[in-house]
Symmetry: C2
Subunit: 335 residues, 2 copies
């Protein structure tokens, strides 16, 4: 199965021509149970299922139109040169949806992710472009189908077509048609995520490369499948019971396990900078004095602090400038 | 089996009375294949075998005499109060060797470990006191037997009764009589260890407690036994072939695996401070520019840099103030 075959299967004989405009917003997301490792790199099929919370108004708004000639892409109001990585990747993805070879897309993308918020924009970005294309062409695809399309752009984008708590099923099928995300029917208005941006001095490697190296060389990766399954069950239980301490403990340990696996890849991968370690120690110090705050970290140096509304004051005091989000604060983007 | 039974078995009817003086030196050591986890906490029997290099003139010199009354302990020329942890632990150990309850030991211990060298002194300390007691009483025990006695004081002390490359066999016996260290017959005069001392701001927990928590709660600990065995075989091969790159790669990954397991303990354990992460990134940056340097880290924030003599200049430049040791530079302490 290839990406284009997946697209053809989902779109069937739907129209790929219009003179209208499509527009959509998709929130960024942070995984409590991480996606780390692909069972199919071409289709972005994951080794494990994952569970995330959306980041509310931190995300991507994208507007798209059909034009004659080459794609014209702008990011945050600035034209992006065709040879930039952002443009080549997006143009490659748009190829699946081009009515004819001679047509292009005008894409205006605005990340409401603050410039230095330390949140990856590819998840919300590929979710937003897929939602915008659905709006443009009037496909009327289900959120599940849109989740699969977004996954082809970026694995974690499959989760960004929803808000709130989202579960991405790994699926079993080789064609990936059962590997989509769905929204969990949970409200947790008190839940908060604090984005702590730290000094970034480490030289990063891309997450796809980091995943592949981890899978290929880390001894501990052998444990990841069963470990992740156990964590997911525990997290779903904690979410259903709104048990914050269990949610925080499992989410933190799951994130640390992902970084632990990277650390034991060869050569080792360490996304952490001195600011990451400093933030972790601060979070644990807060916890030792009785404030239930937990950390999660994605494939980068920045730390996301998990806590409940009543402890917002302590978190703001410990991390001046922290950007706080309520993942269940919005009623949008539900099927 | 208890510690005192082990002592009685080894000493037999050897004398525990003398009016002489015993004196000995033992080097500190740093493990290339780590000791992490006890299969018997009372006897300090390890889950895995381990392999270390000695730190030459960084270590402990101890002088011991019998006296009437309570123990009188001095450390680096200063009298240590009986209720200090250093004294209570040492006095508890000396109880095994007391001729009668009314006799004490006068112990003068000098750590040549520079005050802030970031090297644990319990390994060299317990090796030195055992060697000094052997000298005092004229037991004439073999190094193997002394290694077992030192193990009762501190697990890694079993390795500090030798210099150079040392292997501590985990052993299989419940009484631990086959869990001793021995010196590998290897010279590697070009091998160097650089001690990088970093700012210590993290709150440490003792290594015994950290080990116990890792064994009890880290998912990844299940992999440690087989992982460690594989690393040990590879390291012994690298040592025999004097293949520095393989030695460095395996030693670094083994150390990172130990810290990765701690990170996934619940609650997580992170000995690293911002200085640790900074030093790791510097080491990897050096390696990326072609200088073969590798890291190892024990249960603390400081980093030991592994390299060969020809790269001493680069290491000194990258880490001003680094203390450099030649593990195979001395001919002392061989059986």
């Amino acid at each position: 199965m290839t990406k284009i075959e997946t697209v053809n299967q989902l779109l069937g004989d739907r129209a790929l021509e219009t003179d209208g405009v499509g527009k959509a917003y998709a929130p960024a997301n942070v995984a409590l149970c991480k996606y780390w490792g692909k069972r199919d790199a071409a289709l972005n099929l994951p080794v494990t299922s994952s569970l995330s919370i959306s980041l509310g108004d931190i995300g991507t708004t994208t507007e798209v139109r059909l034009i004659d000639g080459a794609d014209r892409i702008s990011l945050n109001g600035e034209r992006v040169a065709v040879d930039q990585a952002f443009a080549t990747r997006l143009t490659g993805f748009l190829d699946f949806f081009r009515p004819t070879a001679g047509r292009g897309f005008a894409v205006d993308t605005v990340n409401t992710v603050p410039t230095a918020a330390g949140v990856a924009s590819s998840a919300s970005g590929y979710a937003a472009i897929v939602l915008a294309l659905d709006d443009l062409f009037g496909w009327g695809l289900t959120r599940r189908e849109l989740s699969i399309l977004a996954r082809l752009g970026s694995g974690s984008a499959s989760r960004s077509v929803y808000d709130g708590f989202v579960k991405w099923h790994r699926g079993e099928a080789a064609d990936g048609m059962d590997s989509f995300a769905e929204r969990l029917d949970v409200d947790w208005p008190e839940l908060r995520v604090g984005l702590v941006v730290v000094a970034d001095s480490a030289k990063p490697i891309g997450s796809s490369e980091a995943m592949a190296r981890t899978v290929a060389t880390s001894t501990f990766y052998q444990q990841w499948g069963s470990r992740s399954e156990t964590d997911l069950v525990a997290l779903e239980g904690a979410v259903a019971a709104r048990d914050f301490r269990v949610l925080g403990e499992i989410a933190e340990s799951n994130a640390l396990a992902m970084h632990a696996m990277m650390l034991t890849a060869i050569p080792p991968i360490l996304y952490w900078t001195i600011g990451t370690v400093d933030t972790l120690h601060k979070i644990w110090a807060l916890r030792e004095t009785g404030t239930p705050v937990y950390a999660t970290i994605d494939a980068g140096p920045n730390v996301k602090v998990l806590f409940e509304a009543e402890n917002a004051g302590s978190v703001e005091k410990a991390f001046p400038g922290v950007r706080i989000v309520a993942p269940c604060g919005s009623e949008e983007y539900r099927d």
